[in-house]
């Protein structure tokens, strides 16, 4: 299974995931993962928004921003998002390893 992040917001369940197509789309839109250290304030929300493209592509940007604002443990969240973002390329390079594949669970505090 690909790395996914699931949570419920406003009674709706969300599954965040990156596919090869969504990673490519983000890059085509100007997202450069290597710039994350230089421009974290712009790129981290963009990374979060990009994770919606696979399963919730029609969710509006302001809803995504709202969800992002409410996400707890941001530092850990960003680390997990980065891992998820790297998953499509890592899957092309590494051997199957069932143990390393885990789903991440997230809850909101409101």
């Amino acid at each position: 299974m690909a790395k996914q992040m699931t949570f419920t917001y406003d009674g709706k369940e969300y599954t965040l995931e990156f596919t090869r197509r969504t990673v490519k789309q983000m890059e085509d839109e100007g997202f450069v993962a290597q710039d994350i250290d230089r421009k974290p304030m712009t790129l981290l929300p963009a990374l979060f928004a990009g994770a919606f493209k696979a399963h919730h592509r029609f969710v509006k940007q302001d809803v995504i921003d709202e969800i992002y604002k409410g996400m707890p443990r941001k530092e850990e969240l960003v680390g997990k998002l980065a891992e998820m973002y790297n998953d499509p390329i890592a899957a092309l390079m590494e051997e199957p390893d069932e143990k390393s594949v885990k789903n991440v669970e997230w809850e909101t505090n409101w």
Partner: protein
């Protein structure tokens, strides 16, 4: 001033020291595009490659390795049959040999599964037992003949 000197917002570090060079920033998208054909050759659909679970690629590679190993084993087995057949037919091919009659080709395929191997072993034992019983019967018949 040339147009290329003022275009683009990438820093020299990101572009490898100048806009004339290709950016050194690696794009996953390019790698994905380059490898798409390879994964499709393994049997992965275009949709699965781009939109499916990204982990699928690992299992397609794993499958490909197993298919190659199986093919290799099949070819090896074919070679073994060919070698055996050649040896069996060799008396007919040897003009200097007194016996020109080729040996018969094997009756059944080489057992490659455990169950088939066990079955063959049981059949051989049964044949031996039957042959032993037959020999015993003949011996007994011979002995009985003497008392008549």
């Amino acid at each position: 001033m040339g147009n290329e000197l003022v275009t683009g917002s990438d820093s020299p570090a990101a572009t490898g020291g100048g806009n004339r060079r290709k950016p050194v920033v690696s794009r996953y998208g390019e790698t994905f595009e380059n490898l798409c054909g390879y994964y499709m050759s393994l049997g992965m659909s275009y949709h699965d490659y781009w939109d499916g679970d990204c982990e699928m690629a690992r299992y397609y590679r794993d499958m490909d390795e197993k298919v190659k190993e199986r093919q290799n084993e099949t070819l090896w087995l074919q070679g073994l049959y060919f070698y055996e057949a050649l040896l069996d037919a060799s008396p007919a091919l040897n003009g200097m040999s007194r016996k020109h009659k080729p040996l018969p080709y094997r009756k059944s395929p080489i057992p490659i599964t455990e169950a088939r191997s066990r079955q063959e072993e049981e059949e051989k034992n049964q044949e031996k037992l039957n042959a032993g019983m037959e020999a015993m019967k003949q011996m007994m018949a011979g002995v009985n003949q003497k008392f008549k």
